[in-house]
Amino acid sequence: MKNKILMCCYILCVMMTACQKDVLNKAPLDSYTDQSVWKDLSLAEAFANNLYNVLPNAEHNWDNTTNRTWALSAVSDEAYNKFDDYGAISVMNPGNLTPDNLGVFDIWARTYSYIQSCNIFLSKIDNVPGDPAWRNRLKGEATYIRAYAYFSLTRDYGGVPIITTPFDLNSNFKLSRNTYDDCSTFIAGELDKAAALLPVQQSSANYGRATKAAALALKSRQLLYAASPQWNTTNDMTKWQKASDAAKAVIDLNAFQLFNGNYADMFTTQNSELIMVRETNKQYMWNAFQGVEMFLSPSGFHGWASYAPSQNLVDAFGTADGKDITDPTSAYDPQHPYVNRDPRFYQDIVFDGRPYGQPAFCQDRYAAGSTNAAEFYEGGLDSPQGWDKWNNSVTRYTFRKYCDTTYNFNTETQTNKFWVISRLSEIYLNYAEAQFYLGNSATTIQYLNLIRQRAGIQTPLLNTLSGPALENKIRSERQVELCLEGHRYYDVRRWKIADVTENKPLMGVVITKNANGSKTYNYTQVQTRAFKPQHYLLPIPKSEINRTSLAQNPGY
């Protein structure tokens, strides 16, 4: 009996000692807490790294990022998107945009969530111990990124609430919209602060992080937007002067040169012209959906032709002698529309007959009796009658820009890629435009010529150009030089010409190969477009209007 009692006691003891003493004081094992993050600059840097997600990158994704990079081309007159990315087909282009129905095109909430993160970071960073230079660099980066976030918001929505301190659950949430000019002044001021904190250029290991130059370049664009007709209804010259000064400040850094290598390589290799880029890496996850070459290439190369250049864009490329194709004196030949064009046409666009990709990478085309030259003509490999015909380019063009043809995208579905946020050409164009409105046509022409010469156009613009003719040159130069870089959608809005350009049907071409080998080009409408006055701005999403007293944008 005693033994048994002893045994019971033993069992009890075993059980009780096996019990954990501190059952409830657990901590998450999958995350850091406040105490650690704001004590260690390397963790603070990791937090800052995530803020970069508010900047656009070159990935092709449909979902909840602020990254509408490619889609911006398909909701302007640059391109046609066949998969309705970001609601391009169903919402944006038919004019169905309403506060209820922005689809994934809306960036309001997502951008503000990064602003909150920036505010948390900026409220904490000053007290993180460590190397002051490191701390200042991170502070400068976060300041730049927050300014970028506000820049994105204001170009889409106009004036928005400016928030610079982090919210918590007990904050007073009630706010109203600041004016556009307030926002613009705020953004420019923040970019000055960032510029003061940041190096002109980052070290090689930190390439892609914000720099002083990046901050000044963004400031240039912000002030150009603020001076433009959309936001400068009285044509206030001081705004143009600020825009001009901001552009000139970047030029005067003398840290960048127009890229003089192969023009097409500018978008695939790091070079002297790039002021700010955002990088994406070929990733170790199995996911074919992010390879730029995969979704831009023609169907006969087993690409998807997701974003296909419009005829509207193709027509904006002038001729080799620097004239518009509508100019009767130009070398444009409607029977051979792809001959004698602006050299950039050959670098940016894949058109019928243009060789694309290395022969070794498209052996199946050779096996089928073709070559690596694109066959967009009816019956060709890249036509609706060719391979993967459901992926054929509806406009019969694809983009060469941003594609790296030095590797086989069918095997390697992803490449290291960067998305250009600022480059020197844009600054030249910003400067040229501001100088034009300030009345200095000569400077305008000087900078336009720098860009045209670099592109390979041997005939400079005449010094006699002025007025609307020069204004058109500035605009078409910008349309061509910066195509597919996310500028056009906003440029036509700030110029207040979107009601014309965005109401034109989007055009493509149908190419018939004749018996004698010649080809006939029929230009056809591939998409109707409907732009209404309210579409100069996006509506603030209804879900936000429902919870705040923010004023909605006009017309919605």
Partner: protein, 1054 residues
């Protein structure tokens, strides 16, 4: 005493860690009682044993010796049956083989056989010397012992809303996932099966509907006292009983009790001859419904219409459409992709073998089960295999000491396609019907791009995703009676160490898939773009430890019966995960990590821990077995809340009155055999919310889409983000749980009725304020204790069973009505009144109200419409009358996807060994939305949509013009797309024949039963014409469909 001071008192109790003093106090009280009632008779009202006192005087002369055997209706021996000579105190009991010997004084003697749970029987001896008796189980199972939280009770004395099922009740369902077997059988349980995928075909369970819109709503599953063991993967043959605690009877589970609790008890050994039981079956699984989709020319026609509607050019040439329509050219064929991906029949087989037996010292139950479930994917190796063993051993090591060791172990093997089921099914409904599965030369087609042919994607050509799950659940327990302190006092406890090692291996490989060019007659292999050769291995070790100890006191003093316990419980969980990845393996011939490239390799890991701790107790008191009262408490701490919000008290009180035992009732209302009135109240909790919301958690970005890279060589820089703004005040959800009900038996206990009405008031619901906090705050909101809901309803069951000489039958019905209503929920301040959810069901739909579709331009012009609306679009009602259609016109409607009514019918009959059993399950007052084009930009429309779509030539159509998932006019939540999800389905039917016992007896084989049965044989509902199962919860209508299972099998008892 107000609540606050109560809490303070309890906090003090906790702080002083006075656990040992609780039993001490009870001991002192108990000892006092013992002194006072030293002479009172003791028995064990809850043990289920009946002791017969004495064996009578010794008759020596002129005695007649009678012997015999007592068995139940199935022929199983009944040990411990009291055999008494009528009119005398003399008697004996049967031994382990059910045999007895008794001496009677004369041939006029009458033997009375009585046994707990069975009808007593009297037998004249006559001239016999052998008297064999078959006792029949009592219809009214009032004396049956049922499992309740931390104990057992006589069914007749249960004062909570508690429903029970016996193990046998769930064996007739052919579904290998146990949760499905509960459907239609338990009042108060809302059960829907959402998928038929092998190994993933369990049902969603709700007890009395939804009570929360923030925290989890799943009931707590407790198997043999251990929380969170997997209900679905139990061997159904191991299950002794299922208890569903629906009201405050669950409050003893404290902070995890508010959603109700399901207790599963496994079988244990019994004294007597060992019984060996085999249960085997072979079944065929069929998908209940598939949504038929359009063929090639219809698809092309539809998308031409769509593109023209959108202002684009028509993508398909009419000449091609004509060729597909003519269908006489082998190069222009049509594929039914959904039927190409799925096959009609998939086998499953299940074998279970058990041994149950034991003697006085040791009792044992051993079992083994093997289950093999194949997939309805046509071209796939997908399968689920499971091997289960269990050993439940009870040893009596002294008069007062019992120990038990239960070990169950399981191996689950899941072989799934390497590409997710969602992507395969997405591809299956998005695939162009004009593409063939295989080209004319037999090469597989490459799909839309990258070889994404769903038939190949689902096959092992694309690789595999194999998961092996090893589960070992040992549990050690003891039960020590302490009569030397005082009679009725006992100490018992257990410790369980649940281990789960899960190893997953994901292997991708490129596959052959060809494009074909008709003009050049060439095939082009897209193998290079299908996939890379890579391998990922993920290993997870989870360990959950449970310790429980209680001191109990159970005794009867005259008419007072008291049952008290106080206990302590803790559970802790730890999980460690390790993941490794390499790509570009040297060859697919050896699928091991070392063969992969070090470039792009990835090794990572993570961990998880939780813990809960409780002090709990209960006092049950009855007077004269007529007035029943119970009070319980649990003082419960959860790791999930900040230190000052961690501990909560969850008390409950239940009362019962067996009014039928009152003389005034007995003497006047003869047709009622039993009537017990019950009422209960409890405060319950729910801590099922995302973890550690009280601390600021900075997590590493693990979505590659948000990775950041810097530097000349695109180096990844780790990113941290704040997962949610911390909520320093977070605590558990509370539920005020009230229930009144009655249990009744009529017609000599043949008719039983149980009825309950309940009112659950859930407050402090853990929900995010994501409707009112402005988006510009950028806050990632944590759950906060802000919501309040009320759920009221009734459930009842009515059962009738009758046993005649050769015929036995039963019929029953159960019914649940649960209506939830939001009292407070965070809402956007500026939404119109008709969108507020206050007063509506928790998951009520918010939809546009429609008047069908616009048939003519005039209808569009003359009514408010969305910008761009055209004939053929949904005709949406302008609810706010502002002349426009905006989201303000959406309306909250009372209907929701969760059924308000759930019911079941049980029918069974047996005649000479032939038995037929049916379980019907049904629901009503539920609506499910099916958005037919929501699956993506290429979705092939279902035939029902296509055939009746609006076109200029078919202006009177029922359905909208061609549209896609982004269409703002038609692919919107509208009542137009809500379908009545009411159904009544024959959940289970089983026909069996038990062969006469004498056939196999000489081979030592006992009962042999053969059976055929079906699960989900048919359903009566309105979803048939849309090609979806009424139990679906998938809005796009694309999921692995539910299954219908036919099976046949054999039961053998040795």
């Amino acid at each position: 005493m107000n609540l606050k001071s109560k809490a303070k008192l309890l906090l003090w109790l906790h702080l002083s860690k006075i656990l040992p003093t609780i039993p001490l106090t009870i001991l002192i009280i108990a000892a006092a009682f013992t002194q006072a009632n030293a002479k009172s008779t003791t028995n064990y009202p809850f043990t289920g044993e009946l002791k017969i006192h004495g064996s009578g005087p010794d008759f020596t002369a002129d005695v007649i010796k009678i012997e015999g055997r007592v068995t139940d209706e199935k022929g199983a021996p009944l040990p411990g049956v009291s055999v008494r000579i009528k009119g005398t105190p003399n008697g004996t009991t049967t031994n382990v083989d059910g045999k007895y010997t008794i001496t009677v004084p004369d041939r006029q003697a009458v033997l009375v056989f009585s046994f707990l749970g069975f009808s007593s029987q009297e037998q004249n001896i006559g001239n016999s010397t052998t008297v064999n008796i078959v006792l029949t189980a009592k219809n009214a199972t009032l004396n049956e012992v049922v499992v309740v939280g931390y104990g057992t009770q006589k069914k007749g004395n249960v004062v909570g809303a508690v429903s029970t099922l016996k193990g046998d009740d769930i064996l007739q369902n052919a579904s290998p996932s146990v949760s499905n077997s509960l459907a239609g059988q338990v009042p108060g349980l809302i059960i829907n099966n959402r998928s038929g995928e092998p190994g993933n075909d369990g049902a969603s369970l709700l007890i009395r509907g939804l009570n929360s819109f923030g925290g989890g709503t799943s009931p707590l599953i407790v198997v043999d006292g251990i929380p969170d063991r997997d209900l679905n993967r139990l061997n159904p043959d191991d299950i002794e009983s299922v208890t569903v605690l629906k009201d405050a009877s669950a409050a003893i589970y404290g902070v995890r009790s508010a959603n109700g609790v399901i207790l599963i008890t496994t079988k244990r050994g019994k004294s007597g001859k060992p019984t060996i039981h085999y249960d085997g079956s072979y079944g065929i699984q069929q998908l209940t419904r598939l949504m038929p989709r359009v063929n090639a020319w219809e698809y092309m026609t539809y998308y031409n219409e769509l593109n023209l509607n959108q202002g684009n050019t028509a993508p398909y040439a009419q000449s091609d459409i004509d060729k597909y329509k003519a269908g006489n050219d082998p190069n222009y064929t049509s594929t039914d992709w959904v039927n190409a991906v799925f096959r009609k029949n998939a086998p499953q087989d299940n074998h279970s073998l058990s041994v149950q037996g034991g003697g006085e010292q040791v009792k044992y139950y051993f079992s083994a089960q093997s289950l093999d479930q194949q997939s309805n994917l046509r071209n796939s190796d997908e399968a689920f295999k499971e091997f289960n063993i269990r050993s439940n051993i009870d040893a009596t090591i002294s008069k007062n000491m019992k120990v038990n060791l239960d070990i169950s172990a399981r191996k689950e093997d899941r072989n799934n396609p390497v590409l997710s089921m969602a992507s395969i099914l997405h591809e299956a409904v998005s695939m162009y019907p004009f593409l063939p599965v295989y080209w004319q030369n037999g090469y597989p087609d490459a799909g839309v791009s990258n070889g994404r042919n769903p038939v190949i994607m689902s096959s092992s050509a694309a690789g595999y995703d194999m998961t092996t799950n090893y589960i070992v659940n040992p549990k050690l327990g003891f039960d020590l009676k302490l009569p030397y302190i005082t009679e009725g006092l006992s100490l018992n406890g257990y410790a369980a160490f649940d281990y789960n090692y899960r190893a997953e291996k994901t292997f991708h490989q490129p596959w052959d898939a060809y494009t074909y060019d008709l003009t050049t007659n060439t095939y082009s292999n897209q193998r290079a773009s299908t996939s890379i050769l890579d391998l990922a291995q993920d290993a997870q070790l989870r360990n959950e430890n449970t310790y429980f100890i209680k001191l109990a006191y159970d005794r009867q003093f005259g008419k007072h019966a008291i049952n008290v316990f106080a206990g302590y419980e803790q559970t802790t969980t730890n999980l460690d995960d390790t993941y490794a990845y390499r790509r570009d393996l040297l060859s697919n011939q050896l699928d091991q990590l070392f063969t992969g490239s070090t470039v792009g390799q990835n090794a990572t890991g993570s961990a998880y821990q939780d813990g809960r701790e409780s002090y709990l107790g209960r006092v049950a008191y009855s007077y004269s077995d007529k007035y029943l009262a119970e009070a319980s408490f649990r003082y419960n701490g959860s790791f999930n809340f900040p230190a000052d919000k961690r501990w909560g008290l969850f008390p409950a009180v239940s009362l019962g009155w067996k009014i039928s035992d009152e003389d005034f009732f007995k003497n006047n209302i003869k047709f009622v055999d039993h009537l017990k009135l019950r009422a209960s109240w409890g405060l319950m909790g729910n801590d099922a919310v995302a973890q550690y919301l009280y601390v600021a958690r900075y997590q590493l970005q693990n979505n590659p889409e948000y990775y950041n890279y810097f530097g000349g060589d695109y180096t990844e820089a780790k990113s941290l983000y704040l997962s949610a703004t911390p909520n320093a005040n977070i605590t558990w959800e509370k539920q005020d749980t009230r229930n009144i009900g009655f249990d009744a038996a009529f017609l000599s206990n043949k008719l039983t009725v149980s009825f309950d009405a309940f009112r659950f008031l859930r407050s402090d619901i853990l929900a995010q304020r994501n409707a009112s906090v402005p988006l510009y705050t950028g806050l990632s909101l944590p759950a906060e204790n802000i919501g309040k809901s009320l759920n009221q309803g009734v459930d009842f069951s009515v059962n009738y069973s009758e046993t005649k000489t050769v015929v036995k039958y039963h019929i029953g019905a159960n019914f649940t009505y649960a209506k939830s209503k939001i009292i407070f929920r965070d809402e956007s301040p500026n939404i119109p009144a008709w969108q507020k959810s206050t007063g509506y069901a928790i998951d009520s739909w918010l939809v546009y109200q429609t008047k069908g579709i616009y048939h003519t331009q005039a209808e569009v012009d003359n009514s408010p419409h969305m910008p761009g609306a055209k004939p053929g679009d949904l005709w949406i009602t302008d609810k706010d009358g502002d002349g426009q259609i905006t989201s303000n016109d959406m309306v909250r409607i009372p209907e929701s996807a969760t059924p308000k009514i759930m019911y079941g019918f049980l029918m069974g009959a047996e005649y000479k060994g032939i038995a037929l059993n049916l379980v019907w399950s049904g629901q009503a007052m539920a609506k499910q939305m099916i958005l037919p084009q929501a699956e993506g930009s290429l979705a092939a429309p279902p035939a029902w949509l296509y055939n009746n779509r609006w076109t200029p030539d078919n202006p009177n159509a029922q359905y909208p013009r061609a549209f896609n998932y982004n269409d703002p006019h038609n692919s919107v939540p509208a009542d137009f797309w809500l379908r009545d999800a009411s159904f009544m389905r024959l959940k289970t039917i089983e026909l069996s024949y038990t062969l006469p016992a004498n056939i196999f007896e000489r081979y030592g084989v006992g009962a042999v039963k053969v059976f055929v049965g079906a699960t989900n044989l048919f359903s009566i509902d309105g979803m048939q014409k849309y090609g979806v199962d009424p139990e679906t919860s998938n809005i796009t209508g694309v999921n692995y469909p539910q299954t219908r299972i036919f099976r046949m099998g054999l039961n053998v008892n040795l």
